[in-house]
Symmetry: C2
Subunit: 435 residues, 2 copies
């Protein structure tokens, strides 16, 4: 074995110790739970894909930010930067096997090769939640996706004071561009210019816009008056209101989304207090599956994605949300029962008790090596145990102690102990549902 | 956008469509659930590490099978082939922050660059469950890990007729090697020779063993009589019996594990009927963390790993296990309630009903676009709905239909509808626990 300085985590990559992993799992659990309620099915693709899959969507320039390399079999491959091209490939390959509309979601790691900015939450490896409805062009889908995103936020403890969903219509912008005389081949640069406007110096935007054949004044006027004029957004708000979600949303033509492929309603979620990057974003992309699959599949689609970085940051900054997260972390670590082995002569009996408690769905710790009884009770407290079960020389007499109020009772044998523990912990919280 | 033949999944990589993803999730859920009951905490490391991290453990030859490449920052990096080196790095970096023993587990993707053999379940990207106890040298830990592995197998529907845990002691083999006169520097090749014995032609093994200074006869005699003679295995079986697990285990010195770093009890799980590769394997490795961390941390440890390929194969081949898996897959896809929109005039009311049902934890579908009522009921059945709720012209009168027995009742308004649905579906199965 070689020696030398200790090997470090690569820059932009993270170690998830149990506490950080519990935070990650909290996000995963919220994402999964709301997808369950909305009737979405989970899928997953490979972490590595042909680099061509990404070139196809976004051209060579995207390869700059890809974690791309040549494998030992001389293939140009990339760690995936996003899921949509994989989704399009999968859907095109088996499009006849699934009833439409398909409601699909996925949670997994993604990669980009850029300078890591930990403070801003830009990592080289990050998690992302993707949620898409495929094979349905009804406008209802836009409201459904936005509603799901809002339910997620509210379940995590965020209120309308904390975040806003800014909703826009890409088609309204395409209409504006045509009316304003922006050349058709300049549509993408025009949309990108609008997308960057809020982060760009005004004179630079103004210069770009006049080069593109329009003006900053015209664009500003459109944004200010625009939203009320867009019938599709009016209809969207009727649905959002019916689903109890309108108060979290603003029609706002300032949103266009940078990517070229959106075709209808687009939206981004922002925090209201901390000026973080967008929490989530998405919209309708009716032609992308057709284009990515070389015409093999032609299905309308809409979806959105949420990464773990910005929302993780916001969880830390928002008291109610942080409280819920911390409760989850605490519950994820706490054991139900600590089995105290007061006499090593009864270790075998205690092991049988441990096994029976676990078969009943309880989370159980016990000392692997002989340990003083006082230390065992300390361990029980440290590990957040609700009950202690004591196996000692008086076995088959066993005692059960409520660690909250120190109340203790004793009984004969393991079945009686199990009943006492169930009575103490409450039948209702028994077992962990397989999800 | 470029054209050309459709881009394929890379060789050895898999697409997880919803059904395959549900199978994967079933494994994940079992792994997580038993780790919960045993009081293990989840952690995760990066998917990419310095190639040196793996060289350090296993020498340059391991790099042959690594998914290794040079990144754009000129670093030699690898997609992780296993988790133990990452675990050692993480533990060494923060060893004082955690109470010992640490009970940690992890579930994630791993990679190897070798010829994919799909039929044998050898993929380039695979999932693996890792489960370790760190900072505790008590023999009890060996039984604990084996017991957890058995509980997993039994929960998935496998019986003692389907699988066996073959348990051995690496130290007994080291003792044999010393007694038989195998040179100390030949210990690793000797252990590897024993490890390969069952898959190797006898004359080749015999030749290797005599070259190493012993004989096939001596080795065979040791294996046949050995297990009964090893006191550590005797003690192990006392614990396994107490935990109700002895009938699934065999003391069997034919197991040594190929890797050099094991120092005590080692075990592998095999199916009994199909001759598949090992389902899981592990053991005690008291010096590995010291070696991998350049002496920064020195902690005894034991653990095991289980991949998704062999167990996935065995699930398909074992009727009781397959039945449980299929039930899980079916439940993972089924919606609770289908909301039928019998009149588009009542879509807004229906959306409010959908939202309220979801807030109550129910999994709900409804038609995104106008659809004939008959087709909606068809969709409800296809999606495995238990109840249908009908919003039509008679709103605020709503009707709730039990799709199993066609019983129908009607009520006034959404709160009454919610109560009727809860009565039908049963309060007990409401909501999905966040895990």
């Amino acid at each position: 074995m070689s020696s030398g300085p200790a090997i470090q985590t690569l820059p932009g990559f993270r170690d998830f110790y149990p506490q950080e992993c519990a935070t990650r799992n909290y996000l995963f659990a919220q994402w999964k739970e709301w997808c369950r309620r909305y009737g979405f099915l989970e899928y997953e693709g490979p972490i590595l894909e042909s680099t061509d899959l990404y070139r196809k969507k976004s051209g060579d320039e995207v390869v700059e930010q890809l974690f791309a390399f040549t494998d030992k079999g001389d293939r140009e491959v990339s760690l995936r930067p996003e899921l949509t091209p994989t989704l399009a490939r999968m859907v095109a390959a088996r499009q006849r096997d699934f009833k439409k509309p398909m409601r699909w979601f996925s949670i997994g790691p993604f990669f980009r090769f850029e300078r890591p900015q930990v403070a801003k939450g830009r990592m080289r490896e990050f998690y992302q939640f993707n949620c898409d409805v495929i094979g349905e062009d009804a406008e209802q889908v836009d409201a459904e996706l936005i509603s799901l995103a809002i339910d997620l936020m509210v379940a995590m403890g965020f209120s309308a004071d904390d975040f806003v969903v800014r909703v826009s219509d890409r088609e309204a912008w395409l209409h504006f561009a045509r009316e304003a005389g922006v050349a058709e081949e300049q549509t993408d640069p025009f949309l990108q210019c609008i997308d960057k406007m809020e982060r760009q110096k005004e004179e630079i935007t103004a210069a770009s816009l006049s080069e593109l054949g329009t003006s900053l004044d015209a664009v500003k006027a459109f944004i200010e008056e625009g939203a009320q004029r867009v019938p599709r957004l009016e209809r969207l708000f009727v649905s959002l209101k019916a689903q109890g979600k309108d108060s979290y949303c603003e029609a706002d033509l300032g949103i266009v989304r940078g990517l070229a492929y959106y075709t209808g309603v687009v939206f981004e979620i922002f925090d209201k207090k901390h000026g973080l990057r967008a929490i989530a974003g998405g919209g309708r992309y009716d032609r992308l599956i057709h284009n990515l699959s070389d015409g093999k599949a032609d299905m309308p689609a809409a979806g959105f994605a949420m990464g773990d970085a910005v929302i993780g940051n916001l969880l830390e900054k928002t008291p109610e949300a942080k409280k819920r997260l911390e409760q989850y972390i605490q519950e994820a670590a706490a054991v139900d029962v600590y089995v105290v082995i007061a006499s090593e002569d009864q270790r075998v009996a205690a092991l049988a008790g441990v096994d029976q408690l676990r078969q009943a769905g309880r989370r159980v710790h016990y000392p692997f090596a002989p340990m003083k009884v006082g230390k065992q009770f300390q361990a029980a407290e440290t590990q957040g145990a609700t009950a202690a079960v004591v196996f000692g020389d008086e076995y088959p007499k066993v005692s059960v102690k409520d660690l909250a109020n120190r109340a203790e009772s004793s009984m004969e044998g393991i079945p009686a102990m199990l009943a006492a523990v169930e009575a103490l912990l409450g039948q209702t919280e028994a077992g962990g549902a397989l999800d």
